[in-house]
């Protein structure tokens, strides 16, 4: 079968395929020639495994994510359902602002259930049929540590502050309110406090 590369992501190549008559994509983590082979193999295997497991698990608490059809750890390959929507990143600004609340809520649900996504960007949420799907679980972890959850929030904040600088404030406020509505006031205060701590550890943050 001739495979057409749909997208060449940072980590993996995405090809279109079919699986039992359903449209599917194949996500392959190709070896990276710049990385030491030992390290490379370890990373690719580990992330393929983590991604497929957690992508399935999050569905049990209501996070829309692609259905996993088949996993080949040796080839670092996952065949999964195609979500033919639009990444939040590419939507109109007004829509991004609105959907930030949904993203916040989804992240809150993941955290509440002990999952850290690890790569929260506006490209990793896809709007399809009025539903926001979460994708790319390669860097996710099972963790209840508040510090880990704070790292998640800091990352999406950094992305909003850079890629969506003009609408950063409304997006971030909406994201936080969505997040807060799920995790509750006290946990929210705890996590955002750690976010500030992480930021103050940043290089040349205004501390001196």
């Amino acid at each position: 079968m001739q495979l057409k590369i749909l997208k060449r992501g940072a980590e993996a190549d995405i090809c279109l395929a079919t699986w039992n008559g359903n449209k599917a994509i194949i996500k392959t983590r190709k070896p990276k020639s710049y990385r030491n082979p030992l390290l490379d193999l370890k990373i690719r295997k580990q992330r393929t495994l983590k991604e497929s497991q957690i992508m399935s698990e999050v569905k049990s608490f209501g996070i829309p994510s692609p259905v996993v059809y088949c996993v080949n750890v040796k080839k670092a390959e996952i065949i999964m359902q195609e979500i033919p929507g639009t990444p939040i990143h590419d939507l109109q600004e007004s829509q991004i602002i609105l959907l930030s609340k949904i993203m916040g809520r989804l992240v809150g649900i993941m955290h509440k259930n002990g999952i850290m996504h690890g790569d929260l960007t506006t490209s990793n949420f896809i709007l399809f049929n009025n539903t926001v799907y979460t994708i790319d679980f390669g860097l996710s972890h099972k963790t209840l540590k508040p510090e880990d959850h704070a790292v998640d929030l800091r990352l999406i904040k950094e992305i909003l502050n850079s890629a969506h600088a003009q609408i950063m404030n409304p997006c971030w406020q909406n994201f936080l309110s969505g997040y807060k509505s799920v995790v509750g006031t006290s946990q929210f205060a705890r996590i955002t406090n750690i976010v500030s701590q992480i930021e103050s550890r940043g290089r040349y943050a205004t501390v001196v």
């Binding site: 710049y34 990143h89 890629a163 992480i198």
Partner: protein, 327 residues
């Protein structure tokens, strides 16, 4: 337009004279004196500032004579106002203030990190790059958007330069240790597993530093090799993520650690995969130098008025993403 730039943020005291004609700049001179701590030690701010004071007048005169100009020919003087080590920053500021007030030359305080980027753009010709700034003070992935450099990824704790220096010092090298580590790493290909910590577009090096120190007691070359392979792969992955997210078609690497060959080899590989053009600042201007300060000052003078003497501050903490750029 003729400018003098003074750099003194850390271990380097440097004066440079540049001439700007429209959009192009020409480096007429760039003279440096670098403070070297003894083996196994880092920069002592007091000792470094003493070094800068002692060499300041000689470096200044040499930069002027090499450029074939006198102070009175200068149109502006700029100095690095931060971020950096307080005592060191003050030396450069004092020299700049003295020249400015005695000869009535307009003065410009400049952000040191912006200097790395602007000089990189001048020397490489990159137009709209994703920037990797790797030095002793910074590890950041940046892109320019709406008048400011925006941070797409950075270190959550220590910088790549600090990682190399702190590890290097622990095995007896003198800062900066990058070159020594690279040489020792080239003697082996035995990879020992070390913690690999990429968090989205961000990296964290502190765990890697501790782990590498502990394996260094058994085998130093293996530790150097594995440290480079792990740390540089982390940076490369973060860059790859940012390239794919921002869809930029250029990558420019600036800062002292840009001199490392293994790192630039890995990054070239990343660019090939993403069909991005690879630019790296010439070795001679990778580290701290007066040219970066001078060129940024010249650019700023296009749109900004010079600072009054009361405004000629220095600040140890000054993030480059807080600087508004409208030239």
């Amino acid at each position: 337009m003729l400018g003098l730039g003074i750099e003194s943020t850390a271990h380097t005291f440097s004066c440079a004279v540049l001439e700007k004609t429209r959009k192009t700049g020409k480096i007429l001179s760039d003279v440096r004196k670098i403070y070297r701590p003894s083996e196994g030690e880092g920069i002592h701010p007091r000792e470094a500032s003493r070094h800068h004071i002692e060499h300041s007048s000689a470096v200044l005169s040499e930069s002027l004579s090499e450029a074939g100009v006198t102070i009175r020919d200068l149109d502006i003087v700029s100095y690095a106002a931060g971020p950096g080590l307080g005592p060191c920053l003050r030396v450069g500021a004092v020299v700049a203030r003295a020249i400015s007030s005695y000869y009535s030359i307009p003065i410009y305080p400049v952000n040191h990190a912006i200097g790395h980027i602007e000089l990189g753009k001048l020397l490489t010709g990159a137009q709209n790059p994703l920037v990797l700034l790797v030095s002793g003070g910074h590890t950041m992935i940046l892109a320019f958007l709406n008048k400011q450099w925006r941070v797409f990824g950075e270190t959550l704790d220590i910088t790549l330069g600090q990682l190399l220096d702190q590890f290097g010092r622990s095995i007896g090298f003198a800062s900066p240790c990058g070159k020594n580590i690279e040489e020792l790493a080239n003697t082996t290909t035995n990879y020992v597993t070390l913690p690999y910590s990429v968090k989205g577009n961000d990296v964290s090096f502190s765990g890697l530093l501790s782990a590498t120190k502990s394996i260094a007691s058994t085998n130093k070359p293996d530790a150097c090799f594995s440290l480079q392979e792990t740390a540089f792969a982390m940076i490369s992955e973060a860059v790859e993520r940012a390239l794919s997210f921002t869809r930029k078609k250029e990558l420019m690497v600036v800062g002292g650690v840009a001199a490392n060959k293994r790192l630039s080899q890995m990054l070239q590989d990343v660019c090939k995969r993403h069909k991005a053009k690879f630019f790296i600042v010439p070795l001679k201007y990778a580290g701290d130098c007066g040219s970066q300060i001078c060129w940024t000052g010249l650019l700023e003078s296009q749109t900004k008025k010079s600072a009054s003497l009361e405004q000629t501050f220095v600040t140890q903490s000054w993030r480059l993403d807080s600087v508004v750029i409208d030239y």
